[in-house]
């Protein structure tokens, strides 16, 4: 317990002393008091160095402590399945950057199979850079100066070639936010890659070298300390800089590839062979053997949460179909974008408890459910929630309600989580309500269902979904109604090149419908349009002149598809 406290105190000291030093240093630079401060400074430096040592000691000890703790938790015993639970954090998260960065570069070069752009430029440019760094550190001898010359310094730490390239567009950088420096479109791809590798490797080795370059003059300790401090400051500002991140300007639209829609994406993925299918299958079978254990533990008052990479939907479905067939259960697709806690509670009250009526608030509803379940001990309900951590359910209130629900002894909850930060949803109180038992079920299977609703940026939106729903709705309509819709669609397609097309005005539309013998009065058309609007097939807009315009909110290609399909049907 005392360990973290001591450490915290140490950290505060470090932050505090540099400030003091900086102030003193500025005063020193200004040349007001020379002799007096000098001695004081040295004392301070000594103190500072001592503290630094203390801190590193502390850290080492803390690391040891942590190790002890982890060991005490019993990692030593290896479990049969699972790759998370038996590994200590330090093993997984330990820093391996220096090793890895070069490795990654080599790997990349190997993979790309382009020998001319291997890591060589990378190395060639470092000496140049290190030659520059002492200058920059001189610049930054006072904190103020350093802050002001931040931009300049940044330029000087980048490799020479890149810097040359950067020098020209630098003025644009301020004015044109869309333009980013690292990318110049006329450059060929090779160059681009090179820059990227350089950029990525720049950070770590460059920094350490800059820090380790021996200071030209001045007292050694002071220089060292300054360097360290500068490094800290630099790192801080680098990490927290709000300056634009250099990103590529090559958007996907520049690919000669049109965006895929959901359907084609799905089809394509189906065709793509699943790698390591056998192993994955075996893994899933192993998970399947846990079903009876889950049932037992659910019945003993625990709730179960599944985590790990890969879609757990199929696993839960298998659990449901093999074990839960004979009991009342509720399946909740958490990843469904329209899911709410209310809809979950509603399906419990309406479908499970056969209650008719509404509730004033969610809490009332929850209270009702809890009361019913407490009164009637024969009531039992298994709740399966796919993705308990989904966008819609992760809110504090939703989790609170679900937790309270799951704390009922006759409601058995089994849920899956995927998001890496999902456990942050729960505080101690909720955790104790949930009474979780954690199971690692890494399946490696693709998240097909879960991501199908995800508004992925790379997938063309409202494509097949709208088409299928269009077909669906229209098929249930009368022939006349379909005719009316066709008319509107055709008109819209005829005007597809007109970018300022406002839609078809109601009067014109009425005229056309009459001519086609589809309606006989203003009123019937209006009734029909209301129906369309209810199904979100059309949208009405009032123009500037007060006239009502009708529009189908579907893109042209879908509309064309639709008309083609309609023609086939007829």
């Amino acid at each position: 317990m005392s360990q973290p406290q001591g450490k915290g105190g140490g950290a505060r000291e470090v932050k505090f002393v540099p400030d003091e030093e900086v102030v003193k240093h500025i005063a020193d630079d200004a040349g007001i008091k020379l002799r007096k401060d000098k001695t004081q400074l040295i004392v301070n430096v000594k103190r500072f160095v001592k503290r630094l040592e203390n801190i590193s000691d502390d850290e080492a000890q803390e690391f040891l402590e942590e190790n002890n703790y982890v060991a005490a938790l019993g990692i030593c015993a290896q479990g049969p399945v699972g790759n998370g639970s038996n590994v200590s954090g330090s093993e997984v998260y330990s820093f391996q950057t220096p090793k890895r960065s070069s490795k990654m570069a080599e790997l990349a070069s190997e993979l790309a199979q382009t020998p001319e752009q291997s890591v060589v430029p990378d190395h060639a440019e470092f000496p140049e850079k290190t030659a520059k760094t002492p200058q920059s550190s001189k610049h930054s001898s006072s904190n103020k100066v350093q802050l002001r010359s931040k931009k300049k310094e940044f330029v000087s730490t980048t490799p020479y070639r890149l810097r040359k390239r950067l020098a020209a567009p630098n003025p644009y950088l301020e004015s044109e936010s869309e333009y980013s420096a690292s990318c110049s479109e006329e450059e060929d791809e090779e160059d681009q890659k090179e820059v990227n590798t350089v950029l990525s490797s720049r950070k770590t080795p460059g920094k350490t070298k800059a820090a380790s370059t021996p200071p030209p003059k001045n007292t050694l300790t002071k220089k060292n300390k300054e360097d360290k401090m500068n490094k800290l400051v630099e790192e801080y500002f680098e990490a927290h800089s709000s300056s634009k991140v250099l990103t590529s300007d090559r958007t996907l639209q520049k690919l000669q590839k049109r965006r895929l829609n959901q359907q084609t994406l799905h089809d394509l993925l189906k065709k793509a062979p699943l790698a390591y299918a056998d192993e994955i299958k075996e893994l899933n079978q192993q998970h399947g053997s846990l079903f009876s254990k889950w049932m037992l533990q659910l019945n003993l008052g625990f709730n179960i949460v599944l985590y790990g990479l890969g879609s757990k939907r199929d696993l839960l479905e298998k659990f449901r179909t093999s074990v839960l067939q004979d009991s009342v259960h509720l399946v909740v697709n958490g990843y469904f974008p329209g899911i709410t806690v209310r809809s979950i509670l509603n399906s419990i009250t309406e479908d499970v408890l056969d209650h008719i009526g509404t509730f004033r608030s969610l809490l009332d509803q929850l209270e009702f459910i809890m009361k019913r379940f407490k009164e009637d001990s024969s009531l039992e309900l298994y709740v399966l929630i796919h993705n308990l951590d989904s966008q819609m359910l992760r809110g504090e209130r939703s989790q609170q309600i679900l937790a309270q629900l799951s704390s009922l002894p006759s409601i058995y909850l089994i849920a899956s989580i995927d998001h890496i930060n999902a456990p942050l949803m729960w505080d101690q109180a909720k955790l104790s309500l949930y009474n979780w038992l954690w199971y690692e079920t890494t399946t490696f299977s693709p998240y097909v269902e879960e991501t199908s609703y995800e508004n992925s940026l790379l997938v063309q939106q409202s494509g097949s979904l709208a088409l299928s729903s269009l077909m669906h709705v229209l098929r249930s309509l009368t022939l006349n109604a379909r005719g009316i819709f066709r008319l509107l669609a055709q008109y819209q397609l005829e005007n597809k090149d007109n970018s300022s097309y406002p839609g078809l005005s109601f009067q014109d539309f009425y005229q056309q419908c009459r001519e086609a013998f589809l309606v006989n009065s203003d009123l019937t058309l209006r009734a029909q349009l209301t129906e369309f609007r209810d199904h979100k097939l059309i949208r009405t807009k009032r123009g500037a002149d007060g006239v009502e315009y009708l529009l189908i909110p579907v893109d042209d290609s879908t509309l064309t598809d639709f008309l083609e399909k309609e023609d086939e049907d007829v």
Partner: protein, 673 residues
């Protein structure tokens, strides 16, 4: 019916009612490959757990007793003043002070529920029927608070009264405007009714309560209430305190100072606060460990690593005794689920029948136990053959071994306690302050081999007499109360030591005085600094080389005796044959299920080259066919896979679309923006 839909997220499945009948009572361990009487296992497990649960409830009750008594007397006091209209109450009434109990419960918030439940139960029984339990999450505004408060109070009124006029009350409850005045009116109505109604009938039903019982409002989690709500409530109710005997109870997790930091002086001066401290969670845990683990009452035992994991989770994560118990429950379930021989983990009385009814398969299971094999190897060859072939002989031996194990536990516990008594009085606690630490050490290895034990004994050899006598007396008590026959001799021996110490007392006093007087005399004689130094050194030398006094001899004897006890009774359990039957020793299971690390799981899964390759297959395939990459014609399938990879990353929370630029994502974990 499929659970994929684009329009719905919830699906309810109801089996036909006929089927449901069948599915009743299907809770069991399920069918498994390894043979074992699963039903019996389950029944044993349940029986054991129920027994333990009862014990736990008892413990909880006992621990809270003190607190509850104090609270109760506080309520009575504050209330009786109201009833008697004594001067003090009128004084308080004038100054509008509300009697308040501040209940400091500690940071283990999860355990509070249980405490509050028992508090309200007890109060309901003994003090007043009018109790409202408020939680911060229900009371976002003063209006909600009043609603909740009145709802709870009026419901309880229904409970007390007959259920006939339920509709009546229900309607009024819904219609009533939630204000303090209506609450006062209601209270007056209720109290009048109870007092005016036929006293004989009413008295008998509610004789436990006094007339005009106080209204107790419990704020479960005082810290999470918004200050505004609290202030408003306190100010408003202080206006009505002369009509309404209101008593507040604040549940506080941090420190009582929080009241003053939450409430301004003008408000807190309206409260007449009395502080109550509940038992700290550490003490609670010690009691639980004491009553659950260090007893022969329950046949089930925890292994060293498992206990360590549970204690670590308690100490490092939540301080929650409830969670500790949950972990314990999981241990029991796991043990009975995974160990087919766990049917033998039962009360000694049942052991004989159970051993006799072991099937051949089960006997084979026994033979497969590592500890049993070790035992067999230590036997003579004829005996070995008999053990490995004849089931009946095996059963006899198993029964005997189990009895031995039981005896071992019976002896283990009192000796452990004695050792704890001895070592816990030593400076720096070389063997741990708590008995659970000592227990862990003893389970882990032969404790007398450790350095800590060595140093503890060394320290014990330097104890002064009064401490030592004290320790011995406590040891005698422990052995006597353990009521194990085997220790009769030990008790005799310890008592003998005690009498010897008493005899020594007189003689020693003489000696001491002699030595001190003579040395003092010497010191007085020489005034020269050099000589003084020399004589002091001599004195020291002589002390070191001096023959041991009788007391010291006796002290050595006592410590050696205790050492002997330790060596003969505190052998670690996994040296005992058949310890697998009663000890649960798979800490990895616990860690996996209670203290999971989803991040690590994800990380390792992604570190896995297989998945790495899959996710970035685009790179790989692009490298394989440089033509395709250079011609900018990305293969459709690769494109699709890339899309999937991106959306999966989004789902897992690694990236999110950065709104600033099209087609760009921001990294969220491991050093993102």
């Amino acid at each position: 019916m499929s659970t994929c839909s684009v329009s719905k997220g919830c699906f309810v499945f109801k089996p036909s009612p006929k089927k449901r009948r069948v599915s009743q009572k299907t809770v069991h361990f399920g069918e498994r490959k390894d043979s074992g009487d699963t039903d019996l296992q389950f029944v044993t497990c349940q029986a054991l757990w129920n027994q333990i649960k009862q014990e736990l409830e008892q413990i909880q009750e006992d621990l809270n007793k003190q607190l509850l008594d104090n609270l109760e007397s506080f309520l009575r006091r504050s209330h009786s003043e109201f009833q008697a209209k004594t001067t003090e109450w009128t004084y308080r009434m004038k100054s509008r002070e509300i009697p308040t109990a501040a209940l400091v419960l500690g940071v283990n918030v999860t355990d509070h529920d249980l405490t509050f439940r028992s508090i309200s139960e007890v109060l309901q029984q003994n003090v007043t029927p009018y109790i409202a339990l408020l939680e911060a999450k229900d009371c976002t505004g003063i209006k909600n608070l009043m609603q909740k408060l009145m709802g709870q109070l009026m419901n309880c009124y229904i409970d007390v009264d007959s259920l006939e006029d339920e509709d009546n009350v229900q309607v009024s409850h819904n219609r009533i405007r939630c204000s303090m005045t209506s609450l006062v009116n209601w209270y007056e109505g209720v109290t009048k009714k109870t007092s005016s109604e036929t006293p004989s009938k009413k008295r008998t039903s509610s004789s436990r309560h006094w007339l005009s019982s106080p209204i107790v409002v419990i704020f479960k989690d005082m810290e999470s209430f918004t200050t505004k709500v609290l202030q408003d409530f306190i100010v408003i109710s202080s206006q009505h305190i002369h009509q309404l005997p209101l008593v507040l109870i604040f549940g506080i997790a941090t420190s009582p100072m929080i009241i003053h930091s939450l409430l301004p002086h003008s408000v807190s001066s309206l409260l007449c606060i009395e502080l109550f401290q509940s038992l700290s969670c550490k003490e609670h845990l010690s009691t639980v460990v004491d009553k659950l683990l260090l007893t022969t009452q329950f046949p089930f035992k925890l292994g060293e690593k498992v206990l360590q994991v549970l204690i670590n989770i308690f100490l490092y994560h939540d301080f929650s005794v409830q969670n500790f118990i949950k972990g314990f429950q999981l241990c029991i379930v796991e043990h009975f689920y995974s160990q087919p021989l766990s049917i033998l983990c039962c009360q000694m009385a049942d052991v004989k029948t159970r051993v006799n009814s072991l099937s051949h398969e089960q006997c084979e299971n026994v033979r497969r136990l590592p500890s049993f094999r070790r035992y067999v190897e230590g036997q003579v060859s004829e005996n070995q053959i008999a053990l490995l072939t004849a089931d009946n002989y095996l059963k006899e031996v198993v029964q005997k071994l189990l009895e031995d194990l039981h005896v071992y536990h019976e002896n283990y516990i009192p000796v452990l306690r004695c050792l704890h008594v001895l070592t816990s009085s030593l400076p720096k606690y070389p063997l741990g302050k708590q008995i659970r630490e000592l227990h862990c050490m003893c389970l882990e290895d032969q404790v007398w081999e450790t350095e800590e034990y060595e140093s503890a004994l060394q320290l014990a050899r330097m104890l002064n007499k009064s401490d030592l006598v004290n320790v011995l007396q406590q040891c005698v008590e422990i052995f006597v109360s353990s009521a194990v026959k085997e220790f009769d001799q030990t008790v005799e021996k310890l008592k003998e030591f005690l009498t010897q110490f008493q005899k020594l007392e007189v003689a020693e006093a003489f000696q001491e005085r002699d030595v001190s007087v003579s040395s003092q005399k010497e010191l007085q004689k020489k005034t020269d600094l050099y000589h003084l130094q020399k004589s002091l050194l001599e004195l020291k030398e002589s002390r070191r080389s001096k023959k041991l006094t009788k007391f010291e001899m006796l002290r050595f004897e006592v410590v050696d005796y205790i050492d002997g006890l330790v060596r003969s009774y505190l052998a670690p359990a996994d040296h005992k044959t058949l310890h697998e039957v009663v000890y649960f020793n798979t800490p990895s299971v616990l860690r996996e299920h209670l203290n999971a690390a989803p991040r690590i799981a994800l990380h390792t899964a992604l570190n896995n080259p297989h998945c790495y390759l899959k996710a970035f297959s685009t790179v790989v395939t692009a490298a394989e066919g440089p033509d395709a990459a250079s011609s900018d014609q990305v293969d459709d399938i690769i494109h699709a896979r890339f899309i999937r990879a991106v959306s999966e990353l989004e789902l897992l929370g690694f990236i999110k679309p950065s709104k600033q630029k099209t087609d760009h994502v921001a990294r969220l974990t491991w050093g993102g923006c």
